[in-house]
């Protein structure tokens, strides 16, 4: 059994078996990152293009490093320093990359569906590195990997996602993935930042964080975007911190076994207190390391595949 797809766009249309295969492959990939020679020759001769239409530090760096650890040739293109700034369309840019020999195109774009659009129109494999508020599957996979690594399983765990659920592709991707693997997912945040029909995705909804924190195994804290406050979705940063911020007292209440995650970049002192971020229960730095392993696993599973043009039909 192996990942049988040209592209990897989101966790909504992959099977439990496929997710498990990616997670298992990432275990072997993570071992490579701990060796003296942190490189394997697996993707020699393959070309990976990172096409980033949105600012990103860790995801771009993580994909770059993952491709290099597998010996692929990798190029990163960002919006400001390329023809994109001259108004070239997404498809033209991607086609240009393809003609130059790209085997995998990693794309980050502000428009939901951008990765899918590209996947339907080029024969190279497309890997979604975040499309608007839609999906960010590699972040969700690295979150799931981090949970499994620390707690040994996913099925039956109670996972709480806290913060701006409405604008979060990380939340949506985590919900898809965790549900498939049998976790119980709940979300907590201000009513204005929770999408109306989120229950239909199979999650419990809380507006009271303290109530939501009862009996949780994992708390995944999302970054609060300051511009949301300006648009009136919550009254003030101070109030958000009081009501939804993860602080030492709340950490104490959830017990020593529960783990703390954050996809970064963190607003220390707002959604997460420094003492929580740096506590022994926090796996925030490990998440970054696991991100490289997950992306290596996906690049391996996608790039090795023979390009079959019939898939385009």
């Amino acid at each position: 059994m192996s990942l049988k797809r040209k592209d990897f766009l989101g966790l909504y249309d992959v099977s439990k078996e496929e997710i498990n295969e990616i997670l298992d492959t990432a275990v072997a990939m993570k071992d490579i990152l701990t060796r003296t020679v942190k490189k394997v020759p697996t993707l020699r001769g393959k070309t990976v293009i990172n096409l980033f239409y949105e600012p990103s530090t860790r995801t771009k760096f993580s994909f770059n490093l993952a491709a290099k650890r597998l010996s692929a040739d990798v190029m990163s293109i960002s919006k400001s320093s390329s023809s994109i700034a001259k108004g070239e369309s997404l498809l033209d840019t991607a086609k240009t990359m393809e003609v130059m020999g790209a085997d995998v195109v990693v794309i980050r774009h502000s428009a939901p569906g951008a990765a899918k659009f590209l996947a339907e129109n080029i024969s190279a494999s497309v890997l979604n590195a975040g499309d608007g508020a839609h999906a960010h599957p590699t972040q969700a996979l690295l979150d799931i990997y981090s949970i499994k690594e620390k707690l040994g399983k996913i099925a039956g765990l109670k996972v709480l996602i806290v913060g701006d659920i409405a604008h979060s592709r990380v939340a949506r991707s985590n919900i898809w993935g965790l549900n498939k693997l049998g976790a119980e997912v709940a979300v907590a945040g201000p009513q204005t930042l929770i999408p109306r029909e989120i229950e239909k995705m199979g999650v419990k909804v809380y507006t009271d964080l303290d109530q939501a924190l009862e009996n949780v195994d994992v708390v995944n804290i999302l970054r609060i975007q300051m511009e949301r406050q300006e648009s009136g979705l919550f009254p003030s940063i101070r109030e958000y911190r009081e009501i939804y911020g993860m602080n030492a007292e709340r950490l104490d209440r959830i017990g020593k076994k529960a783990m703390i995650m954050h996809p970064g970049p963190m607003n220390r002192g707002i959604e997460i207190e420094s003492s929580v971020a740096d506590s022994s229960q926090s796996v925030i730095t490990e998440q970054v390391k696991n991100g490289v392993a997950i992306r290596m696993a996906l690049l391996y599973l996608l790039a090795g595949r023979e390009i079959d043009n019939e898939d385009l039909n």
Binding site: T25, M29, D31, V40, T42, L70, G304, R305
Partner: protein, 184 residues
């Protein structure tokens, strides 16, 4: 070739003969290396692993020394990844000791084209700088495509390219046996 589409043509070696071959190889390893100093065993996944463990047990029986034993997964070093339709599953390499300065005995069940051993040599050298690498295998079936030979051989079995030599270990398979398979 998919083994499920093949039939057993004959049993080449039975369990007793396999046991005797393992005992002889264990003695040969000790003789060539003048004992167990700096010696380690590394089995190539999948069926090099039980063979390495058997050799370690036999050597412990003979010398009273338990050799460090590891597991090598060569998937990421294969030279045919760009030609296979689907990526093979990657497993972990589990070598819980430093191989630098050690005499490594690489262990596999069958030596055929030599490509697996080539991949294993590259994988090992990325993990450290062994003093020596030796090769122990159960069956040498010929048809080499690379200049590689084994230091310790259970049995030489000339075969045709249409056949498959299937080494079974009771740890993984039903029983110990070497079978010759043919397309049905």
């Amino acid at each position: 070739m998919d083994k499920s589409e093949m039939i057993v043509k004959k049993e080449l070696i039975d369990s007793a003969a396999m046991g005797r071959a393992i005992t002889r190889i264990a003695h040969e390893i000790l003789e060539k290396n003048k004992g167990t100093e700096d010696l380690v065993l590394i089995g190539i996944r999948t069926r090099g692993v039980p063979l390495a463990e058997r050799l370690a047990a036999k050597i412990e029986e003979i010398e009273g020394v338990k050799l460090p034993t590891g597991i090598l997964d060569i998937t990421l070093y294969r030279d045919d990844l760009s030609t296979v339709a689907q990526q093979p599953i990657v497993h972990r390499t589990e070598i819980p000791f430093d191989i630098t300065g050690k005499k490594v005995v690489l262990v596999d069940d069958v030596l055929y084209t030599g490509r697996t051993v080539r991949a294993a040599l590259d994988a090992l050298i990325d993990l450290g700088r062994p003093l020596q690498i030796q090769l122990a295998i159960m069956i040498d079936r010929g048809h080499r495509e690379l200049p590689i030979r084994a230091d310790f051989v259970g049995k030489n079995l000339p075969t045709s390219k249409d056949e498959v030599v299937d080494v079974n270990f009771k740890e993984i398979d039903e029983k110990d046996a070497v079978l010759l398979l043919e397309k049905s």
